[in-house]
């Protein structure tokens, strides 16, 4: 049945953004944070992840399939909107726009990031470790690209979390929605701190 699936697709899109993709991003950035304690600590933490049993199945089920679905349907959502922030400059309308801009940017950033790291390992047997990242962000442009990418990801997740709570009917009243705006923005600041500290540790 091709029709009447929009509700299902939208809800699935919203859910997958938080579980598992959002959860993965949080874990990913927390593991990267170990780089602030030196190459040894980072290699140990990332090595633990790389040596999980059934790694490929876990990766496909918990990361690749959900993120590809989220990306494809997200691009469709982003391009069906007609942006009007110039006429309606309300806070939420700006967040609406930023959510879509960061989303589109993340499709590009994540594709590049996966190519540069995970696929290098899969295709060319490169080792994913501290040195690999240090080489990448040795280039100041690459470092800037990664910083913008990390900030986009943390914003997209934090603001997406806010939308998730509304879309699933958890935050209904304006008051609860406003408070969750503060909470999710604090989460954005925290996660950005974690992510940026990690990338600067490689540089």
């Amino acid at each position: 049945m091709a029709n009447n699936k929009e509700f299902f697709h939208r809800r699935l899109h919203s859910l997958l953004g938080v579980i598992p993709v959002g959860l993965f991003l949080t874990v990913h950035l927390l593991i990267n944070y170990s780089a602030t304690r030196g190459p040894e600590a980072y290699n140990k933490a990332s090595g633990f992840m790389a040596n999980l049993p059934f790694l490929l199945i876990l990766e496909f089920l918990l990361i690749y399939i959900p993120i590809v679905y989220h990306a494809i349907y997200g691009v469709y959502i982003a391009f069906t909107a007609k942006h009007n922030f110039n006429r309606f400059g309300f806070f939420r309308n700006w967040m609406f726009l930023l959510q879509r801009i960061t989303g589109i940017f993340l499709v590009i950033f994540i594709a590049w990031h996966v190519w540069e790291t995970r696929l290098q390992k899969a295709f060319f047997g490169a080792e994913v470790n501290f040195d690999m990242m240090a080489n990448i962000v040795d280039n100041p442009w690459m470092l800037a690209f990664y910083i913008v990418g990390i900030l986009s990801a943390t914003f997209h997740l934090s603001n997406g979390l806010w939308s998730f709570l509304v879309s699933w009917g958890i935050t209904v009243t304006p008051r609860s929605q406003r408070i969750l705006t503060y909470v999710t923005m604090l989460f954005f600041i925290f996660l950005s701190y974690v992510g940026i500290s990690a990338i600067l540790a490689f540089a």
Partner: protein, 255 residues
Amino acid sequence: MAEGQKTVTIIVQRQDNPDSAPYDETFEIPYRPNMNVISALMEIQRNPVTKDGKKTSPVQWEMNCLEEVCGACSMVINGKPRQACSAMIDQLEEPIRLEPMRTFPVIRDLLIDRSRMFDALKKVKAWIPIDGTYDLGPGPRMPESKRQWAYELSKCMTCGVCMEACPNVNDKSSFIGPAPLSQVRLFNSHPTGAMHKKERMATIMGDGGLANCGNSQNCVEVCPKGIPLTTSIAALNREATVQMFKNFFGSDYSY
């Protein structure tokens, strides 16, 4: 025009037919105290001559109640969608710019086709069915506190301002928009209307329905009646979440 008389400058975005290109015309009309955009447009209708002295066709628009309860005269005034009847000339920055609400198909000048909204109201059964083949008798009572609460939602006049402000209501999407959704909440809350709750939920959980909301929350900011549209949408989201589980797992309470 008499020398020294105070005037009002109005720029109207005009369009001759649904398919032609829009163009601007500037009018200068004599000022009167307490004018609103409607009386200014009536002035143009009386004397359809542009500022440059060119004779033109009278500007078309729609109006009805003239007290901001029918929603017919909604248009974009100085960039903001609102009712022309309650837009006072004294409170507007000049030149005053009038445009049609382009989210809807333009018929002519400021006259638009709001069928999209009326069709959506039919689709979601935005009414309370009381007819039967025999006298159905009185329905269940509605608590007074609930009536007062529901009254706020019933203020919707289908004016289309929320639709104009919503980035997800456009010609690329089939989204029914905030106003019809809030009406679902209104009629689902009514004791008799609730008897058709499942049908309404099924409709808004279908294509072009509830899930198309992107939470830009422009609707609640612009609603001239102060209807809590985003609260309605979030409340329906919760209802839809419950309904979704009932539909999938099954429930005897899923009527």
